[in-house]
C-alpha cells in the first residue's frame, strides 16, 4: 500500500516542479508560445544584460510574472505598463537608470545622468518638441537583447558605435527632413581614427561618441572644436590656441578650428603635403607667392629633410645591426631624433617658424651623429672582414711553414 503512495507523490513532484518553473516567469513562457511579432522579446531576452543580473520582463513592463493567467499577469492593477510609447522610452529606462540607489545594486560604477544628458542632446530636444523619429535609448542600445557596452556584440561597443549611428545618419530618406549630410560615416571610414579603431583594434581611438558625446549627442560648435580635439591632442590644442589661426578660425566667418585643415570626419594621416604642394591646405587661404605660403613651404621642407635624414640613419643602423655590429647606443639616440621630429610637427601648430626650426636643428644634429655612427659601424665591419682575411692568410702561411719544417725534419 505504501509503495503506490510514494510513487504517486514522486510523479506529482516531477510534474509540479516544471510547472512551478514556468510560473516563475510566465511572460517568457507565454510569449515564446506565440507565433506573431510578440514572440520576439521572449526569443531575444536570454542574452539581455538585465536578465544576466536577475531582472526580467516584469521589472520594466510591470505585471505579475508568477501567474500563468494572462489577465492576471498583464493586469494594470498589478502594475502592468505594457509597451511604452516611443516618446516615453527615455523616461521609461530612466526610471531605473537615473536612480543612484537602484543602480548601485547592479552596477555601482555606472553613471546615472544619461537621461539628464539626453534631454540636452539634439535627439532629446527634438523628442521633447514632438518629433518621435529621433533616436531614443532603444535605437542605439537595441531592445530586449540589450548588452553591456563592453560586450563586443553590443551595438554601442566602440567597434560598432559608428555603424549604429550610421543606421540613421547615413539614411538619406531619414535625414532629409533635418537637412543634414549623410556622408559622415563614409568619410569617417577613410580616417586615421577609424584605422586605429577598426584595423589596429585600439579601443581608445575616437568613434562618433568620443567627439559628439553619446547621450548628450550634438555637433560641436565652432568655438569648441579645438577643445573637442584637444581632449585627446592636448599639446596640439595648447599650441594652436597661441597661434594666429585660433582667433581667425574661431571668429566670425571662420570654419571651425582644427577641422579647417584636418577636416572633421575624414581626418587623414597628416603629412607635409598639407603644407606645400598642389594639395596644400594652406593654399585655401594663402595664395602662392605670398609670405605665409612661403613660410609653409619652408616648414614643409624642414620636416621632410629631418624625416629623410632620420630614415637614412635608421637604414644604416639596421644594416649595421644585421651585420652583427653593436649600435644600440646610436639606436637609442635615434629615438631622441624621432622625438625631435614629433615635437617639430607639434610646434607647427603654434605657427612660429623659429620655434619649429630650433627643434628641427636639434633633430638634424642627432640624425647626422647617428648617420655617422652607422657609417662608422659599416666601415668597421668591412675593416673586420679584411682583418680576418689577413689573419686567416697569416695563419695559413704559419701552418704551411710548420708542415714544411716537419717534412724536412722527418725526411732527414
Amino acid at each position: 500500500m505504501r509503495a503506490p503512495v510514494i510513487l504517486f507523490l514522486l510523479c506529482f513532484a516531477v510534474w509540479i516542479v516544471p510547472g512551478s518553473a514556468a510560473a516563475a516567469d510566465s511572460c517568457v513562457t507565454c510569449h515564446a508560445a506565440i507565433d506573431d511579432a510578440a514572440k520576439g522579446p521572449a526569443a531575444l531576452i536570454k542574452n539581455d544584460v538585465h536578465v544576466t543580473h536577475g531582472l526580467s520582463c516584469a521589472d520594466c513592463h510591470g505585471g505579475d510574472r508568477t501567474s500563468d493567467d494572462p489577465d492576471v499577469a498583464m493586469n494594470k492593477a498589478k502594475g502592468f505598463k505594457g509597451k511604452p510609447a516611443r516618446a516615453a522610452i527615455p523616461k521609461f529606462c530612466a526610471a531605473c537608470h537615473s536612480s543612484p540607489d537602484y543602480m548601485r545594486k547592479y552596477a555601482p560604477r555606472e553613471r546615472v545622468d544619461q537621461f539628464e544628458l539626453y534631454q540636452t542632446s539634439v535627439h532629446g530636444k527634438r523628442l521633447a518638441a514632438g518629433d518621435a523619429n529621433v533616436a531614443t535609448c532603444i535605437d542605439c542600445h537595441s531592445v530586449h537583447d540589450i548588452r553591456a557596452v563592453k560586450d563586443s556584440a553590443s551595438p554601442v561597443h566602440p567597434l560598432h558605435v559608428g555603424e549604429t549611428c550610421s543606421r540613421c545618419h547615413s539614411d538619406a530618406q531619414k535625414m532629409a527632413p533635418y537637412k543634414i549630410p549623410t556622408n559622415q560615416f563614409q568619410e569617417y571610414k577613410t580616417s586615421i581614427h577609424w584605422e586605429a579603431l577598426a584595423k589596429r583594434g585600439d579601443l581608445s581611438a575616437p568613434s562618433c561618441a568620443s567627439c559628439h558625446g553619446n547621450h548628450g549627442a550634438k555637433p560641436p560648435q565652432v568655438e569648441s572644436v579645438s577643445a573637442v580635439c584637444g581632449s585627446c591632442h592636448v599639446l596640439f590644442e595648447q599650441l594652436y590656441e597661441k597661434s594666429v589661426h585660433n582667433a581667425i578660425f574661431s571668429g566670425a566667418g571662420g570654419g571651425g578650428g582644427c577641422m579647417v585643415c584636418h577636416s572633421n570626419h575624414a581626418v587623414h594621416y597628416p603629412s607635409t603635403a598639407m603644407l606645400a604642394g598642389p594639395k596644400a591646405v594652406c593654399s585655401g587661404c594663402h595664395d602662392a607667392g605670398t609670405a605665409p605660403a612661403g613660410t609653409a613651404t619652408r616648414m614643409a621642407g624642414w620636416l621632410d629633410s629631418l624625416d629623410a635624414a632620420l630614415k637614412q640613419s635608421e637604414t644604416l643602423l639596421t644594416s649595421a645591426e644585421k651585420s652583427g655590429m653593436e649600435v644600440s647606443e646610436a639606436q637609442v639616440r635615434l629615438i631622441d631624433g624621432r622625438e625631435s621630429l614629433v615635437k617639430a610637427r607639434l610646434a607647427l601648430h603654434s605657427m612660429k617658424p623659429a620655434d619649429m626650426q630650433k627643434l628641427v636643428d636639434e633633430g638634424m644634429a642627432i640624425a647626422r651623429a647617428t648617420q655617422k655612427a652607422g657609417e662608422f659601424a659599416l666601415h668597421e665591419k668591412d675593416t673586420r672582414r679584411i682583418g680576418l682575411a689577413v689573419s686567416v692568410l697569416l695563419i695559413g702561411i704559419a701552418i704551411f711553414a710548420i708542415r714544411l719544417l716537419l717534412r724536412r725534419m722527418e725526411s732527414s
Binding site: 652583427g324 655590429m325 653593436e326 644600440s328 647606443e329 673586420r384 672582414r385 682583418g387 680576418l388 689573419s391 686567416v392 695563419i395 695559413g396 704559419a398 701552418i399 710548420i402 708542415r403 719544417l405 716537419l406 725534419m409 722527418e410
Partner: protein, 359 residues
Amino acid sequence: MSAAELKAKTFEWFDERLGLRMARDLLDHKVVPLHPGTAWYYFGGITLFLFGVQMFTGLLLLLYYRPTVAEAFDSVRFIMTRVEFGWLIRSIHSWSANLLIFFAFVHMFSVMFTHSYRRPRELTWLSGIALLGLMMGFGFSGYLLPWNQISYFATKVGTDVAATTPFIGPVLARFLRGGEDVGAATLTRFFAFHVMILPLLTGGLVGLHLLLVQKAGMSTPKDLPAHDLSHMKFFPNFFLRELMVWYGVLALLGSLAAIFPWELGEKADPFASAPAGIRPEWYFLAQFYTLKLIPSHVWIFEGELLGLAGFGLLALVWVALPFWATIKPDGSGRARLATGVGVFLVCYLFTFTLLGYFK
C-alpha cells in the same frame, strides 16, 4: 767568451735552480703511439689551448668589466663599442667558451670509446670529468655577467631548477643567488666564482690531469698494445702537429668572432616579463628539454624531482665508468656494455639538444 759558451753557462745557471735538464730529458723521452686513432689525441690539446685563450681574453676583459648591477651591462657595451678590439676580445671569449665545452665533450667521448679510462687511468678520467663540470660552471657563471635580459632570466630558470634538488635544493639556490632571488648579490657572487674560485680549482685540476697523463703515458686502444706500435716523438714532431691544429682552431675562432660577433642584447630588467623562448646555453639544453617533457607528477613523485634523480643516476654511472666497465689485460670485460652506454648518451644528447633548440 763565445756565444756557445755563454749559452751553455746560462743554461747551467738556470738548470741549477730550476732543473731544466730534467724537463728537457722528459720531453726528449716522451713519445706518442701511432695507430688509426692517433688523431683523437689532439682534442685534449685543443681543449687546453682554448682554456688558455679563455684565461688570456678573460684577463683583458677584467681591465674594463665592472661587476655591479648598475654598471655591468654598460661596461660590456663600453668594451664592445669604445675599447680598441674590445668587440674581438669579448666575442672570442664567448665563442671560445662554447668551443671549449664542445671540444671537452669530444675529448671525453673519444677517451670513452677508445676505453682509455681503463686501469691505471681511473684518476685521469675522474679529474677530466671534474674539469668538464668546472667548465660548465664557468659557462653558467659567465653567462650572467653581461647582465642582459636573456642571461638574467636564464639564470633565474637555472637556479630555480637547482632549488628543486632534494634536501639541499633551497639552500643550494640561496647559496648560488646570494639571497632569495637573482639580483645584485648573485652578480657579485657569480663574478667571484668566474674569475677567482673556478680558475683556481681548474688550474689545480688541469695540473693534476696533465701529471696523470704524463705518469701513465698515452693510452692505446685495448687491442693494440703500446709495444706493438711505432711511435712519434712528442717534441717536436707531435707538438708541431698540435700547433698546426691550434692555429686552425684560432682561425675558426677569429672567423666566428668577426663574422658573428657575440650579441649584447638589452639590459636586464627584473620587472619586465621573461623574454619569449627563453632557454639555457646549448650544453644544458638536453637536460632542460627532458625536464620539460616529464609530466608534473609521475605516480607519487614530482616530475622535475624524478628527472633530476635520473640525471644524478646517469652522472654517477658515467663518473664511475672505469670502475664498472673494467677491461682485463686479455681484452675481456665490459667494453661492449660501456660502448653501448656511450652510444646511447651521444644519441640522447644530440637528439635532445636539437629538440631543445628547435622546439
